[in-house]
Symmetry: C2
């Protein structure tokens, strides 16, 4: 029923419905309006009604920028991740978004696209924007950036990576990978291969690689007897990259493949499997392949992927909770480790009882 400017869509400027306009309309002072909105003082039922009516009539919406300036917080959370197109990151992000929403927090998303050099600049942008905190997912925290954030008093939470003195929630990658190798060994696989991105840029990859090595050692297998390939190209295209990599296995000997190849990602596993199929190499009979992340599709491909499952939503949620905790200022740093699970399907066969034994 309100009369808007009849020109319909206009330039701006018509959004001059400020708190004092409302106050005028209601015949009270701006501070009174503020009080009824924020419940920050007790107001007589009568004036409260008048104010509410004015708000309604004018379609008043508080300006969060102005609010943030007066108060200590902006209710803005920065989330920095490596690649929103990756299922892992997307799930984490979705979960953080969901939690933030419940708190009237809003998230400023930064996708680093695995480009570490952009980090500093992007973080500065977030700081300018007065975010109340920053959650990093994945990657390998940059000490300089972390220190900077600490100096300006912005809490930092790390997801699936870690840094001394900073709260984090990680999956138990190292343990899981070690267990995976042992379980595979127990299932009869004797020669191993590893395919993944270079581990330097990602803490979680590093942890997995370490677990792989530990597992090998525990099983009495020498690392030199394994074919381990790290390829930068996998950052950009896991499927095509892995597909191309398959040749490196063949190049070595002739027709000699490891019994099982462990990978850092389901897409890499799938790329390998596609290449194997193309070459007539049967998976898992001739060679087994294990993925990582339990992507939604992994159980619908053929052979269905044996992989590692983890609750990314829980990771996201936990990160958000740590952020809120950090805000309330206990000052303590917390490190949470979340379990992962070996999911046996077709691409690598392992008897259930073996998996359970290593649980």
């Amino acid at each position: 029923m309100t009369a808007y400017n009849r020109s319909g869509i206009e330039k701006k400027k018509n959004k001059n419905v400020t708190i004092s306009v409302v106050a005028k309309e209601a015949g009270v002072a701006p501070s009174t309006v503020s009080h009824v909105i924020n419940g920050t003082a007790s107001i007589s039922e009568e004036t409260r009604k008048k104010v509410l009516a004015a708000i309604e009539k004018l379609h008043y919406t508080p300006n969060a920028l102005a609010q943030a300036m007066r108060q200590a917080n902006s209710r803005l959370l920065g989330v920095v991740l490596q690649d929103i197109s990756g299922e892992f990151y997307a799930r984490c992000a979705a979960s953080i978004l969901e939690e933030a929403e419940k708190d009237n927090y809003v998230v400023l998303l930064c996708d680093m696209s695995y480009q570490r050099k952009k980090m500093k600049q992007r973080i500065e942008e977030l700081v300018k924007r007065q975010v109340d905190g920053v959650v990093f997912i994945g990657g390998n925290p940059d000490g300089e950036v972390i220190r900077y954030l600490s100096q300006v008093g912005i809490p930092v939470i790390l997801g699936d990576c870690s840094y001394k003195g900073i709260s984090s929630v990680e999956f138990d990658n190292e343990t899981t990978m070690e267990r995976l190798v042992c379980v595979l060994f127990e299932a009869g696989y004797r020669s191993f291969g590893y395919v993944g991105e270079p581990v330097g840029l990602q803490d979680n990859l590093k942890a997995r690689w370490n677990g792989y090595k530990k597992g090998l050692e525990a099983c009495g297998i020498r690392l030199e007897d394994c074919v381990n390939v790290f390829d930068e190209a996998l950052y950009k295209s896991k499927l095509a990259g892995a597909y191309a990599i398959f040749d490196s296995f063949d190049a070595k000997g002739s027709g000699e493949y490891p019994d099982v190849i462990v990978t850092s990602n389901d897409k890499i596993a799938q790329g390998l499997i596609a290449a194997a199929r193309q070459k007539g190499i049967e998976i898992p009979q001739k060679m087994a392949v294990v993925g990582f992340d339990n992507s939604e599709i992994s159980q619908y491909v053929s052979p269905a992927l044996t992989t590692i499952a983890q609750d990314e939503r829980l990771l996201g949620k936990s990160c958000y909770e740590l952020f809120r905790e950090a805000l309330s200022g206990s000052g303590k740093t917390t490190h949470i480790f979340l379990p992962q699970k070996i999911v046996v399907r077709e691409s690598a066969l392992i008897a259930d009882e073996i998996v359970e034994r290593y649980h």
Copy 2:
């Protein structure tokens, strides 16, 4: 070399490095500092140096909130999409993020999770935050929300959906789908099936469905002779949902399947294929399946998916550009249509020359 508060991480409040602190340090007026930062007046080399030194020394970072309040814009863009975990949306988002970054815009991301009712509230939050514009990707624009945004003067850009009088960039879903059906018919497929989410909530699905019907008509096939299933459950889990749906085809007759099933998404196609495999039905020999979206994995599964490819990054980029254009205030509304491509692989066989003929 600067001495920070030695306690390291502190609560806030130490971030009191405002423009006037810098000004004092440099022995000039705040406005002068502002001018050197923004290049909004010519400054003598001498004072400029002093100011820059002070900024450096104090680690001054402008407060974007305050800037936004003084100026007309916040350099904040709201992006609203249905499901960040979907490859389609993730790609669009990634592209918008990338473009925004170049402009020092920052994006406030909202994931609706296909829940239409949350829309209004979320949009209000964005408005409170003073976003300079909102880009909607997918879904079915809510007239009320669009009007509200127009009233408060916030430009709206629609991606892969449309609304009267609002700029949009869409894929040419209807045309493509119609063409797909014709091409399939030409390739010898005579009986058709369709599997997808109910089309009411998504403009792009509606367009595809319309195209499907038009194609059928053009080929002289009656809609009643087709098995078309719409399932709400597909919104939440396309793979599992499609897998479950497969039975509905069997239930009808006995062992009678359409020659080809057209779907709204690669995941749905893959779910169907997995179910078929489980039942011993060969794809594409016994029945062909066509996906949609050309997900990265689609060419690495077996059978490789015949599907529809589209450039989501271009869509994202175009949306961003329309947004910027809208800001500069030409006031005109633009509708862009982006082409899609039929990608023939293994799950549905079509001779290249047929596809080309319909191009």
